[in-house]
Symmetry: C2
Subunit: 343 residues, 2 copies
């Protein structure tokens, strides 16, 4: 029912193929015929059929976004990955398809790649050792990651610079005078499955603390308020000299605040808190507003797509050096960090 290319061709009085060439610029077309063709297209309200085009050209201009949906649901940061990626894709004339892939059903991934529906994939929530990445590699499907495996090799990625982020958090606290800073991480299970951010933040903190010449006290912590509260109490019992905490756990940090309340410590007078890799959308909701190292989530989403498209649109014979980028978090000073108490 919608006009086809042949209809345009007839109306412009040219061959079908000429319309195709005019449309794609794959071959020179004289200015006058091009004009006629364009007019015909306008008049008919012609839109090229994406399926037919994809079938014939073997390029669909569709990208897949692989995102697992963890038990707890996704947060603001993840939403920003998605919108950033979707925006970037659109700007480049691509579509973004959502592929909710649990790590378990690798079959769905095979299904997806085998369908010939997508030109490439963007992988979110990457683990240090990630089957999906292996599979995509085997499938020969171009892809990039938001995050990275332990050994990315020649795979392109955009990730947060956790080394820098933990360093910045410690530096901020040391400038304020703190000399004993703890680190509250994500859950033990995130750590044990090798979730990238969890592992790298721990390593980064360790190194940064050691470089700064301060003791490093760290703990994983369940992703909920109760766990955060318990963790704080334990941390304080075992390390009473602690004057500040770097927290990479949005759900637990509230528990820490509650624990402080319980012992009538005020933030930041008696204790300082810096939340890392958490959106200000969230930390603004807390009182006092948390000092935060905010991840460039939207930017990471955009970058992930750009990196992928670089691969896709590079001529196949050229060498393709992977693009691997680490972006820093931005320090947003709130009201949860101040000089240590004179105890």
């Amino acid at each position: 029912m919608p006009p086809r290319m042949i209809d345009v061709a007839k109306r412009a009085d040219v061959a079908l193929s000429t319309v195709s060439y005019a449309l794609n610029g794959t071959r020179p077309v004289s200015a006058s015929t091009r004009r006629r063709i364009m007019r015909a297209m306008e008049e008919l309200g012609y839109r090229p059929n994406a399926l037919a085009r994809g079938l014939a050209s073997k390029r669909t201009r569709i990208l897949a976004l692989l995102f697992p949906t963890p038990e707890r649901g996704l947060g603001v940061t993840e939403m920003e990955f998605v919108t950033g990626a979707a925006d970037a894709a659109r700007e480049h004339g691509y579509h973004l398809m959502l592929a909710p892939s649990e790590l378990r059903d690798i079959h769905e991934l095979e299904h997806l790649t085998g369908q010939g529906l997508i030109d490439g994939a963007l992988v979110m929530e990457v683990r240090l050792d990630d089957e999906r990445v292996d599979l995509l590699g085997q499938a020969g499907l171009p892809f990039s990651m938001i995050g990275r495996t332990s050994d990315p090799g020649t795979i392109s990625y955009a990730d947060i610079d956790f080394e820098q982020t933990t360093r910045d958090a410690i530096a901020h606290l040391m400038e304020l005078g703190h000399r004993c800073v703890g680190f509250l991480n994500h859950s033990p299970s995130a750590l044990s499955v090798g979730y990238g951010p969890t592992v790298r933040a721990a390593e980064g903190f360790r190194r940064a603390a050691s470089d700064a010449g301060i003791a490093h006290i760290e703990r994983p912590c369940g992703d909920n308020a109760a766990a955060g509260k318990a963790a704080f109490h334990e941390l304080r019992a075992s390390s009473p000299e602690l004057t500040a905490l770097v927290v990479m756990n949005e759900r637990a940090v509230i528990g820490v605040m509650n624990a402080l309340d319980e012992i009538s410590w005020r933030v930041p007078d008696d204790f300082s808190i810096v939340s890392i890799v958490s959106s200000t959308r969230v930390t603004e909701m807390m009182r006092p507003q948390l000092t935060t190292l905010e991840p460039p989530s939207t930017e990471l989403g955009r970058l992930g797509v750009q990196i992928l498209l670089d691969q896709l649109e590079r001529p196949h014979d050229e060498p393709l050096p992977p693009t691997q980028k680490l972006l820093p978090c931005r320090l947003v000073v709130g009201a949860s960090s101040g000089p240590p108490p004179a105890r």
Copy 2:
């Protein structure tokens, strides 16, 4: 390079079409040939090409999710719409494509619908009067809404029951003894562009208050803490008898809490707050934890897809009564609502 249907046919020693019929169940195939075909498919690792299938059958099994990205970004609730929709789509063997559509670029929508790429669309963030909805209607593309226009007619939708939600909020507060309850809504601009939830919540609150025989005091409010704070002070100045506030504005509610702090009022002893249509993911982060009417976001996303698929998979000759569903929010009692003070 990947195996095609003809390869399967040859290996199973049947005609190409028989493979197709076996695959789709469009026509009876004897058990034995079907077995041979299945085996051949397995052995070859055959995956049907989605593009070719779509081109020939005029059905792609791809759904579009239309979501505008407002200035402030999307929140947890919106993310849940997305994951719910994506999950439901996958369960039914469909793909979900993200179409970040600003209201302005109606052209992109035309582009999308004209491409023959999608079977139907799911529209998010619907306004009372929404061009996108009009356009989809004209384009003849099946679609459903999460939310609804002022006059949905025969368009299928799943939306929050704002009437019920505001009623529940007021009922909760009245049970506690409150007799003068105010309502803090979204921004004036959301109201003026006719954003569905904003308008309906206001209407719902008005009716519920009137039915309950209490005064209704309401105000729109900018989506940020400063505006929330100012709004509270103004509200209190003009209506000093207020003992509680129903708030449908996640970003402003923190400002209200700050304002209460300023005048040394404690929550809930001196003043109660009920946050409506906001995720517990967010209200759990606040101290005291807010009493909330939590929207069934994931469910709405799922339902939106199901409703759409009902339309799509119904035989075209049958009459198709639209499915229009309103879902209630769930009351989660936190620590921000209690009996009114004995002033």
